[in-house]
Amino acid sequence: MHDSNRMELWKMNKGLQRIYMLPYALWIVLFVVAPIALILYYSFFDITGHFTFENYKSFFSSTYLTLTVSSFWYALLITFFALLVSYPTAYLLTKTKHKQLWLLLIIIPSWINLLLKTYAFIGLMGLYGPLNAFLETIGIGKQQILFTDVSFVFVSVYIFIPFMILPIFNALDKLNPALIDASRDLGASSWTTFRRVIWPLTLNGVKSGVQVVFIPALSLFMITRLIAGNKVITLGTAIEQQFLVTQNWGMGSTIAVFLILFMFVVMVITGGSDKGASVHEKNK
């Protein structure tokens, strides 16, 4: 009797669990699986609606391969500079007195619409903008800042910095200060402490940051036009053009399929080797 009651309860729990899972499963199917499946489906059709592998063949033409290389190169640059700025910033943040307040101040700009920020940079970097006025006063003279790849990387880095700082800040904040003290007590220099203790323990934060920045940076498109004047072309530009102008959904989808593949690779590289886990694995 007792046992069967227990059984009933267990079954009921299981049923409840299924009901709880339902919204999540629906969400995943509707907004993750279905769009990817649709993109895959469309990528096999040409402009007249016939089944074809032609799109995949044309992706391996020099045009799209060059685009892929240049997208990767700029995404790499953006991620690198974002990391270069974010790591020390996050580190200093954990040392400040009101760290949550400082963090908030860094996060606030990401509340402003991306397009507005980009337009603001057009004004700031213009020939008669404050940046050029500054260059003139210090004697360097007017420079063409807007519509260069430097300005493109700069604006992109600025936009992505908060997304890089957050995970790194969290990792650093969770770091047990006793470990650092121990390292110093045992005679390690600051550099060794950083390299052997702090960096490995915050690596997961860095990896999440890299993912959050690198993946969207691969397919940036609006900034390439507004800030770089189309002198930087990414896969995102090509997708936009295929869908909106050429109305070639097939080719646009094919490029999107490759982007998804690239992102998957990036996820595997940056997410795969969880250091703590692998050590644990070995110890077994």
Partner: protein, 357 residues
């Protein structure tokens, strides 16, 4: 966390309340009927006083909505669920919409004012016999430039853009047909060329222009020209007129090899609810005095021949916006080249943009 949640709920609640108020205020905007006419037009493309006058004269209430791209406009109409009675697509879009059976034929017995339109602008290849469309405004593609920022460089020919003195000065428009078309024009080829050899030649000529190209952008160019940030831009005559009204130094020219002649046109979408009202509106807008007032306000060139008599003679005599017969004979209207050819143009354009550094 709790505060964040509370904040989010508060914002959501305020938004919903505002939405409800807004819906209440604009009640009827989605209702259709005999006495309501929904006009779907480009932004800032009509004198609002004329809408008031039309309402007064006919008793029809006008609901005015705007779009910013032909493709976006067609997408909305194609999806259905809208009840636009009038819209104003560009010529190639008229052809595309007619092909997709999205337009109603125009009943000319209800539009006596059609006789005011210059016959030169009627019965063009994009809509033979003007079955679906009537021209609203027209214009050209040319070069807007600011002599103050240049050392006496002029632009009688497209080839002038390649002049070495213009390094990093020229702004091109981020649109395949205009930019590749400019390359074709500079080689004396047709804007509607489908000959791959000509297209390749035009693309390699454009690639040689890249040291002179400052940027390839969209509507942002107006602000850059007005603020003296840029000296030379490939642009539409209407956009040039906007620049010139804010910066008097700017001039506009259509190079002699020829260029594009474009139209925006009245059409009645198949989804229209007030077809009679739509005809009445078109006829009203074609009235010479009304058309003149509208052209005055918008600043584009009107195809309404009689309206020219009611306009400032100085404007009408301005060859930059009302070119003479000789210049006009070099102008070409875009033909719908089909999606495949449009793809080729865009592929070449992408190649050109990638080559730029």
């Amino acid at each position: 966390m709790k505060e964040l949640l509370r904040g989010a709920i508060l914002i959501l609640a305020v938004s919903i309340i505002l939405l409800l108020i807004n819906n209440h205020l604009s009640e009827g905007s989605n209702k259709t009927g005999k006495n309501i006419l929904t006009v779907y037009n480009w932004g800032e493309y009509i004198d609002p006083a004329l809408l008031k006058q039309f309402e007064k004269e006919t008793g029809i209430k006008v609901i005015y909505e705007t779009f910013d791209s032909n493709e976006g406009m067609m997408g909305k109409i194609e999806q259905g669920g809208t009840s636009y009675d009038i819209t104003m697509p560009s010529e190639y879009m008229v052809e595309m919409m007619a092909e997709k059976d999205l337009l109603l034929p125009i009943d000319y017995s209800q539009i006596p004012n059609i006789k005011q339109i210059d016959p030169y602008f009627l019965d063009l290849p994009f809509d033979p016999g003007n079955k679906y469309s009537i021209p609203y405004f027209w214009g050209t593609v040319g070069i807007a430039y600011n002599p103050d920022l240049l050392d006496g460089q002029t632009f009688e020919s497209w080839d002038n853009l390649w002049d070495p003195s213009l390094t990093q000065q020229v702004i091109l428009v981020d649109s395949a047909r205009e930019t590749i078309g400019m390359g074709l024009n500079s080689l004396h080829y047709s804007l509607n060329s489908t000959n791959m050899k000509e297209l390749r030649e035009a693309t390699s000529k454009l690639k040689q222009l890249s040291p002179n190209v400052k940027a390839v952008i969209g509507d942002e160019v107006t602000q850059l020209m007005v603020n003296n940030e840029a000296a030379v831009a490939l642009t539409w005559s209407g956009q040039a007129a906007d620049m010139m009204s804010e910066n008097e130094s700017i001039d506009y020219v259509v190079p002699e090899e020829g260029s594009n002649l474009w139209f925006d046109n009245f059409v009645i979408p198949r989804t229209a609810k007030n077809i009679e009202g739509a005809h009445a509106f078109i006829n009203f807008m074609l009235d010479p005095e009304v058309a003149a007032q509208n052209a005055d306000y918008v600043g584009y060139s009107t195809p309404n021949l009689t309206a020219l008599d009611y306009m400032d003679p100085e404007v009408v005599a301005d060859e930059r916006f009302y070119p003479d017969e000789q210049t006009r004979s070099h102008l070409e209207v875009y033909k719908n080249l089909g999606l495949k050819m449009l793809g080729v143009y865009n592929e070449l354009f992408l190649e050109f943009k990638m080559d730029m550094k």
